[in-house]
Symmetry: D2
Subunit: 246 residues, 4 copies
């Protein structure tokens, strides 16, 4: 069934164009590497900031089951109208996978209701992501941990609501910890925040990281439920006494 | 210690002025009745929509430990700037008690990250609020349930994130249920949503309802923690190998 | 993939043999009706209390992905050794669906760590199970609620730990509410408690009830993870300074 | 009000008697040091394994608001009858603070419903406990983290149910992480698991550790609620139609 899951990978796609070191790692952009990783299982397309409507037209979103989001230096350039469009789609059931610096994206902050702030250090710390919820579908096929030789450090406190499920916790060489794999539900939509993926490290080539992202896409895919009904609700399901005050 | 808790009760205060039936129940406004209920234990002040800055100046908020919020017909008139101010205060630790139709207030929706939509019916249903978390401080002194002879019905699905703790669930005469007492944490702030309180019923005179609101104020009062540090974090706490790529 | 899920339906199978009214509803036992309901999608077998080892031999459990449990009048007759065997399998990843009066089974109480007590009344109350988590896989295909014309009432407080996810809440004609669909995780295993199914009502013929049970089996099926490693863990993953005190 | 909280500190008290290195750190036992730490604020008594009924008579427990538990080498010697007694008291509202190796105590495993297993290494790792829920009463007055120069390492996976609230996460020098401060509710009782405190290190003299334990006692103290009613519940609160089948 996962062959039918339609994934849109959204990437800011600025670092790769401006910075040679990043381009050397991701010559066609982070989205291209993620598309290659997910394309073997899902129906994948990509979208980037500088496309019209950031590549996220009504049509594209209506055909998207799970949206993957990578952004960093240009969060502010994402138009509020598009953020609202993505937001409504998540509440209606679209899955959302937020990667790394996407913690500060407008869409993630809007869905969390918090600042999503954290500590950070670009010093190439070793990172070890420990599984704290073995048996969870998102860590299927992952052993006890994933090790990344060099990554940007993110440290607590991470200002998010208590996750519905905490799946991974990171250890950093420099002495910090971080809740690295966090599940949330908003409306009908499932959201997974996954920490790794700084643009100056080849993280999205790592097999474990790719596996977790693929697992999370499968987990976040909507179940095809109809929309709940809201608003005025008359008549009552059970007879109620006439009370005059109505 | 609760004698030192500084409470600001915010009320839209429009229904009472426009509608005689409401004014008959709350002649000085809902805020006045809540102030009377909470004033025996806490240091209480009130604020209303039509005051300058809605009565929620920087100074007032800085002196507020817990903010109680009742609004309904004029959610849109609350200025975004004031909403942002309240929001920042909650993240910094101020408690927030959201009552009844406040589910649709800008501040509650912003903190939840969802639509906060629900079903409703104004037919004077009997409501029975069952305690599902006995031993929780918010239901201290409440028996097994509170019964309200007439209330507006709110029905599921209530579009909120899964509460951190669910304390009360309502039964309605007309056949619906509702998660009526919900705890959340956002940043350093504790938030309690409490369902009852339609303006055409004398709900805020009910002893059980008043007790729950007072309990929730005590529960939501900040613990005086210092603010976490966010942002660039150098140097590392542990020595890390020089990796060149920094 | 769900065609490969191996389900064992365990039924106490006493009421049906002793009580003609129950036998008229479930002539071959509750397990037979559930087996018929689940057999179209899963590889189903059944087991009952009075079989050797209650039908739950090591071999049977090793070949079970999800165990469905219905018991009531003879909880005490379930041998502790078999309970321990089921318990270890759940921690190792087997799914467990606990139905109705199974709330008082030894295995459920052992996994919850609480009394699992509740209120009850056999008066044929109408029950309406409201979906409070639309979009959850367990309520896929269910609309806003399921209605059962007559059921035993179960009322709060239900003495369980706060569920990891609350999916359904029941309304009862006589004035009570109940958390009717509750998700838990213990070790690697997923557990779903589902309230309806008193033996004197034809509840397991209801299409909605059957659909929820089938959905929950799919949701609870293990993901095939390897077992985490516990115990003494030497050497460290990172070099640590010799500290003499070891 | 916390001056009225009655605390019983239970200690196995075997390591201190058998092992000179431990006795040098805790000459009168771990319980004596904890009693000294908590005695400035609470009404404290102590109890140990080798007292009659392990010092936990019905009378002592009935006069205990919060029980602190440290055990390690003799978990099996704790009588099941006493475990059951403590268990019933927790469900009835007594707070329970489980320290360090108490993760494997009978009472903690019974309340959790899981194996409570973990990884461990006695190598004097540096431990840094990071606050992941600032503003929580249990970390009041604690800054961003507590640092312990030498401690036993505990590593994930820690086989517990998802905590109701996760307050602290540990970083270990040797490369592991651990959920070190975990809140649970069982029945009416609040439970806090707090990791540090290996007998060969002077951990319970650490100011931050002592402060967290004191905070947790205050947080876990019962709120004096009456007991919920369970069992047969007749008549109904609302009139129900006579249905014959009763």
């Amino acid at each position: 069934m996962s062959g039918n899951v339609r994934v849109t990978i959204w990437n800011e796609y600025r670092h790769e164009l401006k910075d040679e070191a990043v381009r050397n790692i991701y010559p066609q952009g982070i989205h291209a590497v993620l598309a290659e990783a997910l394309g073997t299982e899902f129906a994948v397309r990509t979208a980037t900031l500088d496309e019209p409507e950031h590549g996220l037209t009504e049509e594209v979103l209506n055909e998207t089951d799970v949206l993957v989001w990578w952004g960093h230096m240009a969060h502010k350039e994402v138009q509020d109208e598009i953020v609202e469009r993505v937001y409504q789609r998540v509440l209606a059931g679209m899955g959302l996978i937020v990667l790394h610096s996407g913690h500060f994206s407008k869409i993630f902050k809007k869905l969390m209701g918090t600042s999503c702030d954290l500590k950070w250090r670009e010093a190439g710390d070793k990172e070890r992501l420990w599984v704290v919820s073995p048996g969870h579908p998102i860590v299927q096929g992952i052993g006890e941990y994933i090790e990344l030789e060099q990554e940007e450090m993110y440290g607590e406190h991470f200002d998010i609501p208590e996750p519905d499920e905490l799946v991974l916790v990171s250890w950093f060489e420099g002495g910090e910890v971080f809740r690295s794999g966090c599940c949330f539900k908003r409306g009908l939509g499932r959201i997974f925040y996954f920490r790794p993926g700084h643009e100056t490290h080849p993280t999205y080539y790592n097999e474990g990281v790719r596996r977790i992202i693929a697992n999370s896409v499968r987990w976040a895919a909507p179940t095809g439920d109809s929309k709940p009904k809201y608003g005025r609700y008359i008549p009552s399901l059970e007879p109620i006494k006439d009370k005059g005050s109505v």
